[in-house]
Symmetry: C2
Subunit: 181 residues, 2 copies
Protein backbone atom coordinates (compact mmCIF):
# COMPACT_ATOMS: atom_id res chain seq x y z
CA UNK A 1 0.00 0.00 0.00
CA UNK A 2 0.96 3.63 -0.41
CA UNK A 3 0.02 6.61 1.73
CA UNK A 4 -0.06 9.60 -0.60
CA UNK A 5 0.89 13.11 0.55
CA UNK A 6 0.99 14.50 -3.02
CA UNK A 7 -1.14 14.95 -5.08
CA UNK A 8 -4.02 15.16 -2.59
CA UNK A 9 -7.05 17.42 -2.30
CA UNK A 10 -7.42 20.31 0.11
CA UNK A 11 -10.73 21.34 1.66
CA UNK A 12 -11.69 23.31 -1.44
CA UNK A 13 -10.78 20.68 -4.05
CA UNK A 14 -7.39 22.18 -4.94
CA UNK A 15 -4.26 20.01 -5.15
CA UNK A 16 -1.73 20.21 -2.34
CA UNK A 17 1.21 18.37 -0.75
CA UNK A 18 0.19 17.50 2.81
CA UNK A 19 2.47 17.16 5.84
CA UNK A 20 3.36 13.74 7.22
CA UNK A 21 1.57 12.79 10.46
CA UNK A 22 3.67 10.75 12.89
CA UNK A 23 0.75 8.62 14.09
CA UNK A 24 -0.18 7.71 10.49
CA UNK A 25 3.20 6.00 10.20
CA UNK A 26 2.78 4.04 13.44
CA UNK A 27 -0.89 3.04 13.14
CA UNK A 28 -0.71 2.16 9.46
CA UNK A 29 2.58 0.25 9.77
CA UNK A 30 1.06 -1.83 12.59
CA UNK A 31 -2.03 -2.59 10.46
CA UNK A 32 0.13 -3.37 7.41
CA UNK A 33 2.17 -5.84 9.49
CA UNK A 34 -0.99 -7.43 10.96
CA UNK A 35 -2.48 -8.09 7.53
CA UNK A 36 0.78 -9.30 5.97
CA UNK A 37 1.38 -6.51 3.46
CA UNK A 38 4.72 -6.55 1.63
CA UNK A 39 5.45 -2.84 2.00
CA UNK A 40 4.06 0.45 3.30
CA UNK A 41 5.12 3.17 0.85
CA UNK A 42 5.09 6.75 2.13
CA UNK A 43 4.87 9.08 -0.87
CA UNK A 44 5.93 12.71 -0.60
CA UNK A 45 8.04 14.85 -2.94
CA UNK A 46 9.00 17.24 -0.10
CA UNK A 47 12.56 16.52 0.96
CA UNK A 48 12.10 17.85 4.51
CA UNK A 49 9.13 15.52 4.95
CA UNK A 50 11.12 12.60 3.54
CA UNK A 51 13.87 13.40 6.06
CA UNK A 52 11.29 13.46 8.89
CA UNK A 53 9.97 10.01 7.91
CA UNK A 54 13.52 8.65 7.68
CA UNK A 55 14.29 10.03 11.12
CA UNK A 56 11.17 8.44 12.67
CA UNK A 57 11.84 5.08 11.00
CA UNK A 58 15.50 5.01 11.96
CA UNK A 59 14.65 5.96 15.56
CA UNK A 60 12.32 2.96 15.92
CA UNK A 61 14.25 0.50 13.75
CA UNK A 62 17.74 0.98 15.23
CA UNK A 63 19.44 1.28 18.60
CA UNK A 64 17.75 1.37 21.98
CA UNK A 65 14.18 1.93 20.71
CA UNK A 66 14.31 -1.21 18.56
CA UNK A 67 15.64 -3.25 21.48
CA UNK A 68 12.99 -1.92 23.86
CA UNK A 69 10.14 -2.11 21.33
CA UNK A 70 10.90 -4.92 18.88
CA UNK A 71 7.23 -5.11 17.86
CA UNK A 72 7.22 -1.50 16.75
CA UNK A 73 10.39 -2.13 14.76
CA UNK A 74 8.77 -5.10 12.96
CA UNK A 75 5.98 -2.77 11.80
CA UNK A 76 7.94 0.38 10.93
CA UNK A 77 10.54 -1.51 8.95
CA UNK A 78 7.84 -2.03 6.29
CA UNK A 79 8.09 1.70 5.42
CA UNK A 80 9.65 2.74 2.10
CA UNK A 81 9.92 6.42 1.19
CA UNK A 82 9.40 7.56 -2.42
CA UNK A 83 8.72 10.90 -4.07
CA UNK A 84 5.99 9.80 -6.49
CA UNK A 85 3.55 7.05 -7.32
CA UNK A 86 5.54 6.34 -10.51
CA UNK A 87 8.63 5.66 -8.39
CA UNK A 88 6.61 3.29 -6.16
CA UNK A 89 5.38 1.33 -9.18
CA UNK A 90 8.94 1.12 -10.52
CA UNK A 91 10.09 -0.23 -7.15
CA UNK A 92 7.41 -2.94 -7.19
CA UNK A 93 8.32 -3.92 -10.75
CA UNK A 94 12.01 -4.06 -9.75
CA UNK A 95 11.04 -6.61 -7.10
CA UNK A 96 9.41 -8.70 -9.83
CA UNK A 97 5.83 -8.79 -8.56
CA UNK A 98 4.29 -6.94 -11.55
CA UNK A 99 1.94 -6.20 -13.25
CA UNK A 100 0.85 -3.59 -10.72
CA UNK A 101 -2.91 -3.10 -10.21
CA UNK A 102 -3.65 0.18 -8.45
CA UNK A 103 -6.66 0.22 -6.12
CA UNK A 104 -8.18 3.43 -4.77
CA UNK A 105 -10.83 4.20 -2.22
CA UNK A 106 -12.89 7.26 -1.52
CA UNK A 107 -15.57 8.35 0.92
CA UNK A 108 -17.68 9.28 -2.14
CA UNK A 109 -19.44 6.48 -4.09
CA UNK A 110 -18.34 5.97 -7.71
CA UNK A 111 -20.39 4.32 -10.50
CA UNK A 112 -17.31 2.21 -11.28
CA UNK A 113 -16.83 1.10 -7.67
CA UNK A 114 -16.61 -2.62 -6.82
CA UNK A 115 -17.67 -4.37 -3.62
CA UNK A 116 -15.30 -5.85 -1.04
CA UNK A 117 -16.53 -9.32 -1.99
CA UNK A 118 -15.45 -8.74 -5.60
CA UNK A 119 -12.14 -7.29 -4.43
CA UNK A 120 -11.45 -10.38 -2.29
CA UNK A 121 -11.93 -12.50 -5.41
CA UNK A 122 -9.63 -10.27 -7.49
CA UNK A 123 -6.78 -10.63 -4.98
CA UNK A 124 -6.24 -14.17 -6.30
CA UNK A 125 -5.24 -12.75 -9.71
CA UNK A 126 -1.55 -12.59 -10.64
CA UNK A 127 0.54 -9.48 -10.16
CA UNK A 128 0.84 -6.97 -7.34
CA UNK A 129 -2.03 -5.00 -5.85
CA UNK A 130 -1.09 -1.48 -4.76
CA UNK A 131 -3.68 0.20 -2.52
CA UNK A 132 -3.54 4.01 -2.51
CA UNK A 133 -4.77 6.05 0.43
CA UNK A 134 -4.95 9.83 0.46
CA UNK A 135 -4.12 12.14 3.35
CA UNK A 136 -5.70 15.61 3.82
CA UNK A 137 -9.06 15.64 1.93
CA UNK A 138 -8.22 12.51 -0.10
CA UNK A 139 -6.52 11.46 -3.32
CA UNK A 140 -6.53 14.00 -6.17
CA UNK A 141 -9.12 13.42 -8.89
CA UNK A 142 -6.28 12.68 -11.31
CA UNK A 143 -5.11 9.72 -9.19
CA UNK A 144 -8.69 8.48 -8.81
CA UNK A 145 -9.23 8.63 -12.58
CA UNK A 146 -6.05 6.73 -13.40
CA UNK A 147 -6.63 3.87 -10.94
CA UNK A 148 -7.28 0.33 -12.18
CA UNK A 149 -9.81 -0.52 -9.47
CA UNK A 150 -12.11 1.70 -7.38
CA UNK A 151 -13.35 0.19 -4.12
CA UNK A 152 -16.78 1.08 -2.75
CA UNK A 153 -16.77 3.46 0.23
CA UNK A 154 -16.89 1.98 3.72
CA UNK A 155 -20.38 2.29 5.11
CA UNK A 156 -21.37 1.91 8.75
CA UNK A 157 -24.86 2.45 10.12
CA UNK A 158 -25.23 6.17 9.39
CA UNK A 159 -24.67 8.67 6.58
CA UNK A 160 -21.48 9.86 8.33
CA UNK A 161 -18.49 9.17 6.05
CA UNK A 162 -15.57 10.94 7.69
CA UNK A 163 -13.32 8.20 9.03
CA UNK A 164 -9.65 9.01 9.57
CA UNK A 165 -7.25 7.53 7.01
CA UNK A 166 -5.85 5.41 9.87
CA UNK A 167 -9.30 3.89 10.50
CA UNK A 168 -10.04 3.46 6.78
CA UNK A 169 -6.78 1.59 6.13
CA UNK A 170 -7.40 -0.72 9.11
CA UNK A 171 -10.99 -1.49 8.12
CA UNK A 172 -10.25 -2.07 4.44
CA UNK A 173 -7.45 -4.57 5.03
CA UNK A 174 -9.55 -6.30 7.68
CA UNK A 175 -12.40 -6.64 5.17
CA UNK A 176 -10.01 -8.03 2.54
CA UNK A 177 -7.55 -10.05 4.63
CA UNK A 178 -8.99 -10.46 8.16
CA UNK A 179 -10.02 -13.76 9.74
CA UNK A 180 -13.73 -12.91 10.23
CA UNK A 181 -14.89 -14.48 6.93
Amino acid sequence: MALIHYPVADKYGGTIASAVTNLDLHDIARAAKTYGLDAFYVVTPLTDQQALVKQIVSHWCGGVAAQKNPDRKRALELIRIFDSLAAVKADILRHGSGPVHTVVTSARPSPAGISYEKMRARLTESGAFLFLFGTAWGLSQELMDRADIILDPIKGRTDYNHLSVRSAVSIIFDRLLGDDR
Copy 2:
Protein backbone atom coordinates in the same frame (compact mmCIF):
# COMPACT_ATOMS: atom_id res chain seq x y z
CA MET B 1 -18.31 2.27 24.01
CA ALA B 2 -15.80 3.38 26.63
CA LEU B 3 -12.13 4.16 26.21
CA ILE B 4 -10.50 3.28 29.53
CA HIS B 5 -7.49 5.21 30.88
CA TYR B 6 -7.74 3.59 34.35
CA PRO B 7 -7.33 0.81 35.33
CA VAL B 8 -5.07 -0.25 32.44
CA ALA B 9 -1.88 -2.31 32.25
CA ASP B 10 1.60 -0.93 31.80
CA LYS B 11 4.35 -2.71 29.90
CA TYR B 12 5.18 -4.87 32.90
CA GLY B 13 1.62 -5.87 33.85
CA GLY B 14 1.21 -3.31 36.63
CA THR B 15 -1.89 -1.12 36.85
CA ILE B 16 -1.65 2.54 35.82
CA ALA B 17 -3.72 5.55 34.78
CA SER B 18 -2.68 6.47 31.22
CA ALA B 19 -2.67 9.93 29.64
CA VAL B 20 -5.36 10.91 27.14
CA THR B 21 -4.21 10.98 23.48
CA ASN B 22 -5.80 13.73 21.38
CA LEU B 23 -5.97 11.62 18.24
CA ASP B 24 -7.76 8.80 20.10
CA LEU B 25 -10.62 11.22 20.73
CA HIS B 26 -10.85 12.31 17.08
CA ASP B 27 -10.37 8.94 15.36
CA ILE B 28 -12.59 7.00 17.74
CA ALA B 29 -15.35 9.64 17.77
CA ARG B 30 -15.41 9.55 13.96
CA ALA B 31 -15.64 5.74 13.96
CA ALA B 32 -18.32 5.81 16.69
CA LYS B 33 -20.38 8.26 14.60
CA THR B 34 -19.91 6.17 11.43
CA TYR B 35 -21.19 3.01 13.11
CA GLY B 36 -24.08 4.72 14.89
CA LEU B 37 -22.97 4.30 18.50
CA ASP B 38 -25.01 6.11 21.16
CA ALA B 39 -22.05 7.47 23.11
CA PHE B 40 -18.27 7.47 23.34
CA TYR B 41 -17.33 7.46 27.03
CA VAL B 42 -13.84 8.62 27.95
CA VAL B 43 -12.96 7.20 31.37
CA THR B 44 -10.25 8.77 33.50
CA PRO B 45 -10.17 9.59 37.22
CA LEU B 46 -7.46 12.25 36.69
CA THR B 47 -9.05 15.68 36.89
CA ASP B 48 -6.38 17.37 34.73
CA GLN B 49 -7.00 14.77 32.02
CA GLN B 50 -10.76 15.26 32.31
CA ALA B 51 -10.20 19.01 31.89
CA LEU B 52 -8.06 18.38 28.79
CA VAL B 53 -10.79 16.24 27.20
CA LYS B 54 -13.42 18.90 28.02
CA GLN B 55 -11.23 21.57 26.45
CA ILE B 56 -10.74 19.56 23.24
CA VAL B 57 -14.45 18.72 22.98
CA SER B 58 -15.58 22.30 23.62
CA HIS B 59 -13.06 23.62 21.09
CA TRP B 60 -14.52 21.44 18.32
CA CYS B 61 -18.16 21.54 19.41
CA GLY B 62 -18.56 25.30 19.89
CA GLY B 63 -17.67 28.55 18.18
CA VAL B 64 -15.63 28.96 15.00
CA ALA B 65 -14.24 25.40 14.88
CA ALA B 66 -17.76 23.90 14.89
CA GLN B 67 -18.87 26.25 12.11
CA LYS B 68 -15.80 25.48 9.99
CA ASN B 69 -15.82 21.73 10.71
CA PRO B 70 -19.40 20.65 11.37
CA ASP B 71 -18.51 17.02 10.61
CA ARG B 72 -15.92 16.95 13.36
CA LYS B 73 -18.47 18.46 15.76
CA ARG B 74 -20.99 15.72 14.91
CA ALA B 75 -18.42 13.11 15.95
CA LEU B 76 -16.88 14.74 19.03
CA GLU B 77 -20.25 15.60 20.55
CA LEU B 78 -20.64 11.84 21.23
CA ILE B 79 -17.98 12.16 23.94
CA ARG B 80 -18.99 11.85 27.62
CA ILE B 81 -16.35 12.11 30.35
CA PHE B 82 -16.59 9.94 33.49
CA ASP B 83 -14.18 8.98 36.23
CA SER B 84 -14.96 5.25 36.42
CA LEU B 85 -16.63 2.37 34.66
CA ALA B 86 -19.21 2.23 37.46
CA ALA B 87 -20.18 5.84 36.69
CA VAL B 88 -20.51 5.00 32.98
CA LYS B 89 -22.83 2.08 33.75
CA ALA B 90 -24.91 4.30 36.03
CA ASP B 91 -25.21 6.86 33.20
CA ILE B 92 -26.45 4.21 30.76
CA LEU B 93 -28.99 2.94 33.30
CA ARG B 94 -30.17 6.53 33.88
CA HIS B 95 -30.91 6.74 30.15
CA GLY B 96 -33.05 3.64 30.51
CA SER B 97 -31.25 1.30 28.11
CA GLY B 98 -30.24 -1.30 30.73
CA PRO B 99 -29.38 -4.07 31.51
CA VAL B 100 -25.77 -3.25 30.56
CA HIS B 101 -23.72 -6.04 29.00
CA THR B 102 -20.00 -5.25 29.09
CA VAL B 103 -17.89 -6.52 26.19
CA VAL B 104 -14.10 -6.61 26.28
CA THR B 105 -11.43 -7.37 23.73
CA SER B 106 -7.80 -8.29 24.03
CA ALA B 107 -4.91 -9.07 21.74
CA ARG B 108 -4.51 -12.30 23.70
CA PRO B 109 -6.91 -15.23 23.02
CA SER B 110 -9.16 -16.31 25.92
CA PRO B 111 -10.80 -19.74 26.37
CA ALA B 112 -14.07 -17.88 27.04
CA GLY B 113 -13.79 -15.71 23.89
CA ILE B 114 -16.65 -15.63 21.39
CA SER B 115 -16.47 -15.08 17.63
CA TYR B 116 -17.63 -11.93 15.81
CA GLU B 117 -20.42 -13.97 14.22
CA LYS B 118 -21.76 -14.90 17.67
CA MET B 119 -21.38 -11.31 18.82
CA ARG B 120 -23.41 -10.05 15.85
CA ALA B 121 -26.21 -12.41 16.91
CA ARG B 122 -26.04 -11.27 20.53
CA LEU B 123 -26.49 -7.60 19.55
CA THR B 124 -30.16 -8.37 18.89
CA GLU B 125 -30.68 -9.12 22.61
CA SER B 126 -32.33 -6.53 24.83
CA GLY B 127 -30.37 -4.05 26.91
CA ALA B 128 -27.29 -1.95 26.23
CA PHE B 129 -23.95 -3.27 25.02
CA LEU B 130 -20.97 -1.40 26.42
CA PHE B 131 -17.69 -2.13 24.61
CA LEU B 132 -14.55 -1.45 26.67
CA PHE B 133 -11.23 -0.61 25.05
CA GLY B 134 -7.99 -0.18 26.96
CA THR B 135 -5.27 2.36 26.32
CA ALA B 136 -1.57 1.79 27.18
CA TRP B 137 -0.98 -2.01 27.34
CA GLY B 138 -4.67 -2.83 27.54
CA LEU B 139 -7.46 -3.27 30.07
CA SER B 140 -6.44 -4.43 33.56
CA GLN B 141 -6.96 -8.12 34.31
CA GLU B 142 -9.61 -7.14 36.85
CA LEU B 143 -11.74 -5.46 34.13
CA MET B 144 -11.24 -8.42 31.80
CA ASP B 145 -12.33 -10.87 34.52
CA ARG B 146 -15.49 -8.92 35.37
CA ALA B 147 -16.72 -8.52 31.77
CA ASP B 148 -19.90 -10.24 30.59
CA ILE B 149 -18.57 -11.04 27.12
CA ILE B 150 -15.02 -11.53 25.82
CA LEU B 151 -14.55 -11.06 22.08
CA ASP B 152 -11.93 -13.08 20.20
CA PRO B 153 -8.80 -11.14 19.21
CA ILE B 154 -8.65 -9.60 15.74
CA LYS B 155 -6.49 -11.74 13.50
CA GLY B 156 -5.00 -10.69 10.17
CA ARG B 157 -2.66 -12.81 8.09
CA THR B 158 0.30 -12.96 10.44
CA ASP B 159 1.10 -13.61 14.10
CA TYR B 160 1.50 -9.84 14.65
CA ASN B 161 -1.11 -8.65 17.17
CA HIS B 162 -0.13 -5.09 17.99
CA LEU B 163 -2.79 -2.89 16.40
CA SER B 164 -3.34 0.58 17.84
CA VAL B 165 -6.49 1.03 19.92
CA ARG B 166 -7.71 3.39 17.17
CA SER B 167 -7.39 0.62 14.57
CA ALA B 168 -8.89 -2.03 16.86
CA VAL B 169 -11.99 0.07 17.62
CA SER B 170 -12.52 0.78 13.91
CA ILE B 171 -12.14 -2.85 12.87
CA ILE B 172 -14.34 -4.26 15.63
CA PHE B 173 -17.28 -1.97 14.93
CA ASP B 174 -16.89 -2.57 11.20
CA ARG B 175 -17.04 -6.34 11.83
CA LEU B 176 -20.13 -5.94 13.99
CA LEU B 177 -21.98 -3.07 12.29
CA GLY B 178 -20.40 -2.44 8.86
CA ASP B 179 -22.13 -2.95 5.51
CA ASP B 180 -19.80 -5.67 4.16
CA ARG B 181 -21.91 -8.63 5.37
